[in-house]
């Protein structure tokens, strides 16, 4: 049953996960990976055949959930953005040693150019760091085909397989032909006789690491058909990976002379060194087009005879994403020119939605700091989410934003070093992601920090997925040992501004950690009714709980 539909690159990976017969899909939202999970989630819900799609509290939890499904003998897909893989790296790197039982595919979406991220790290580096294979599609159809292939590879080689996308492919929408969907088939859990492979105490881990290294030649052989060398009459060649492949092939449609260039086309790593050597023997110089880090370029550059051009010698910019325009310039093709407007255009930066509760929370914080005469010395540690927008004008309210959960731990560290007031601002979902352990340490250290949890009840930035901390924030805070007297729940609305300012000022002056929860639902999710059903059910449950109590003797 072939069916052609339009899909984003990340959605194609999600579809392939479903069609490969996964039992469970897991992930944590993060641009540009989010729609991959949402796609497979929708398919799983529609199928209603006992499969699971579950957002996790963070990427490490998501990865461990997937590894558990694999252990239980089923196929599984786990999705995250590139910086999310840092959070899951402990699980990912060690799953290389345990290996997998049911096929495990990891979708990672990188963000070269940092459209919506704090860095442009290259996940291919982490795959080679873990001695694991990575497939790199360059079209929407390849996103699908490679993901299906990744499940087969994962089971044949008994390793997790990464499918690496970049923003431009993740958010490229194109026709997709799907194959017939397989139903999940279970292998049964890892047999007791093999359980020692999964127990990474040092004696087993040493053995499993040697097994992993011994597997590398098989891995090269299994991936061999995904990489190829295409001869051409020129002594100048190109090495292409990921979107470099996609951009080059399209340029060759418009500039047929490019078809004379010998090409090394890479869609999977590790790459067989013999393939690279054979290609290099046919050329005197090579231009490398790969997205993000100069990994292929560095490798080819180690062979001294051939001149290698790319990001390291200035043929391409060292940072940022590739584009057809950059390829043209590097290939010596005439640039196409447009006529820019005869007017200086101001940047239109993203901003808070009109009526967003985060703005009310920041205004209360800033006024409270001002009233205490603490504006100059106070430092506010922000976190990752819509509220990061407060770093820019007109609020200019944040002094540091690093990674998920850093707000609380950095504020604690700064407070322990004597900085006062030290304020952390974190969203509810980010708090559940990695703020919780930081709060536990804040309590243990007795640090003088004021923590604002901006609870909009959803993961706002990535499309208003329900937060894992939904309706649980106060209980989580109290559970970490914060005394009730040090916790307040406020409503960020203009009419509560004066009361909120007072509450923040009191918290700032109180010794030890104090927590202010500013709760008002994200206006985007409110408009879309994301939590309408949830809230209706909660209300009904509370009502029936009351009734039950009334009939108790």
């Amino acid at each position: 049953m072939a069916q052609s539909t339009l899909a984003l690159g990340v959605e194609a990976v999600g579809c392939a996960g479903f069609d490969a017969g996964i039992k469970g899909a897991f992930g944590y939202p993060g641009t540009p990976s989010t729609e991959g999970f949402e796609c497979v989630e929708a398919l799983i819900h529609a199928a209603a055949d006992g499969r699971v799609a579950q957002w996790a509290a963070n990427e490490k939890v998501a990865y461990d959930l997937a590894l558990g499904v694999s252990f239980a003998g089923f196929r599984t897909l786990v999705t995250m953005k590139h910086v999310g893989l840092n959070v899951a790296l402990d699980a990912y790197a060690n799953s290389a040693l345990t290996g997998v039982h049911g096929g495990l595919v990891l979708l990672v979406a990188d963000d070269p150019g940092m459209h919506s991220s704090q860095n442009e790290q290259d996940s291919r580096s982490l795959a080679s760091f873990a001695w694991l294979p990575c497939l790199e599609p360059s079209t929407v159809q390849e996103c699908y085909d490679f993901t299906l292939r990744a499940f087969d590879l994962s089971e044949a080689l008994q390793v997790p397989v990464m499918v690496r996308l970049v923003t431009r492919l993740a958010h490229c929408r194109a026709p997709l032909d799907r194959r017939e969907a397989l139903a999940p088939t279970g292998l049964g859990p890892v047999p007791a006789a093999q359980a020692q492979d999964w127990v990474l105490i040092p004696s087993n881990a040493r053995r499993r690491y040697e097994d992993l290294l011994a597997k590398q030649p098989r891995l090269l052989a299994a991936l061999a058909d995904l990489n190829r060398s295409v001869p051409g009459p020129s002594r100048r060649g190109v090495a292409l990976a990921g979107m470099g492949r996609a951009y080059f092939h399209q340029l060759a449609l418009e500039h047929p002379e490019l078809r004379d260039l010998p090409r090394l086309e890479l869609a999977a790593q590790p790459v067989d060194p013999d393939l690279e050597a054979a290609f290099l023997a046919t050329v005197d110089e090579v231009l490398v087009f790969e997205e993000d880090y100069p990994l292929v370029e560095t490798r080819l550059g180690l062979r001294a005879r051939v001149k290698v051009h790319g990001r390291l010698d200035g043929a391409l910019p060292r940072v940022g994403e590739l584009s057809p325009r950059l390829l043209k310039a590097a290939l010596g093709l005439a640039p196409s020119m447009g006529t820019p407007a005869e007017l200086d255009l101001p940047v239109r930066a993203p901003r808070f939605c009109d009526g967003c509760g985060h703005v009310d929370a920041f205004e209360a914080l800033q006024e409270a700091l001002g009233n205490l005469g603490a504006t100059a010395q106070a430092r506010v540690f922000g976190d990752i989410g819509c509220y990061t927008l407060a770093a820019q004008e007109p609020l200019s309210a944040l002094h540091a934003v690093v990674e998920m959960g850093a707000s609380i731990s950095m504020a604690v560290g700064a407070a322990l070093a004597g900085l006062h007031p030290a304020v952390a601002v974190i969203g509810d979902s980010t708090f559940g992601h990695s703020g919780l352990p930081a709060l536990l340490t804040a309590m243990d250290a007795g640090a003088d920090v004021t923590i604002l949890i901006l609870d909009n009840r959803v993961v706002g930035m990535t499309g208003q997925q329900p937060s894992q901390a939904l309706d649980q924030v106060e209980r989580m805070v109290l559970g970490m040992g914060i005394p009730e007297a040090s916790l307040q729940v406020l409503t960020p609305l203009p009419r509560h501004h004066e009361a909120n300012v007072k509450a923040v000022a009191a918290a700032l002056q109180q010794p030890g950690p104090s927590v202010l929860v500013f709760r008002r639902e994200c206006i985007q999710s409110l408009r879309r009714g994301v939590l309408r059903e949830h809230d209706r059910n909660e209300k009904a449950e509370r009502a029936s709980a009351c009734c039950t109590l009334e009939v108790q003797p």
């Binding site: 449609l253 196409s336 993203p350």
Partner: protein, 199 residues
């Protein structure tokens, strides 16, 4: 072997105006008209009221690059005048611009409107639409995008029946009234072209 012509469309506006939704209609319409088409869009941070753009490429053979080079777009459809100017360099010398005159000026340093209009009218083939007025006349606050698409449709090789079908399906989940309103806005845009086109 001769070189091949790849066509490009840029759609621009402000986060929340429906740029991505409009781009998907264009993509589907081109695909159903027998072309190989790809669309590129950026999600995330920029959707919070920042500049948003999407690109659609199409040709008679399969394509692999979802993004266009400067000076290579045949058509720019802009839902906001400043966001039109931001992307005019994407147009080919013989390209066409279809833009809303209605500013979304809630930002620092928004240039005087008359300067923006002057710069837009200097673009060859520019077609401007007072979407605010049109929305009022059609009693449909969101009419602007579909009307601009209607105006732009004369530059796209899509049969009328395909437009009708794609727009109808796009809004099917929202009911008959929403479908009718959007078809009406599209038709209004189609009708406006000759009167407002500039040399």
């Amino acid at each position: 072997m001769s070189a091949l012509r790849i066509h490009g469309i840029v759609l621009s506006g402000v986060g929340g105006q429906g740029v991505l939704s409009l781009a998907q209609i264009v993509l589907e319409a081109l695909r159903r008209s027998g072309f190989h088409a790809l669309q590129s869009e950026i999600h995330g941070m920029s959707q919070r009221g920042g500049s948003v753009q999407a690109q659609v490429c199409f040709a008679e053979v399969p394509l692999t690059s979802p993004i266009l080079d400067e000076g290579s777009a045949d058509l720019l459809i802009a839902l906001e005048p400043l966001e039109a100017l931001r992307h005019v360099a994407m147009l080919r010398p013989d390209g066409h611009l279809v833009a809303s005159e209605e500013p979304s000026a809630d930002m620092a340093g928004y240039p005087p409107l008359e300067d923006i209009y002057r710069a837009l009218k200097a673009v060859r083939g520019a077609c401007l639409l007072d979407t605010e007025d049109l929305a009022r006349r059609l009693r449909h606050p969101q009419a602007g995008g579909m009307a601009l698409l209607g105006m732009a449709s004369r530059h796209l090789p899509v049969p009328e029946a395909v437009w009708q079908a794609v727009i109808t399906e796009r809004f099917a989940a929202k009911g008959e009234r929403v479908i009718t309103k959007n078809l009406e806005a599209f038709a209004a845009g189609q009708g406006l072209v000759p009167a407002r086109a500039e040399a």
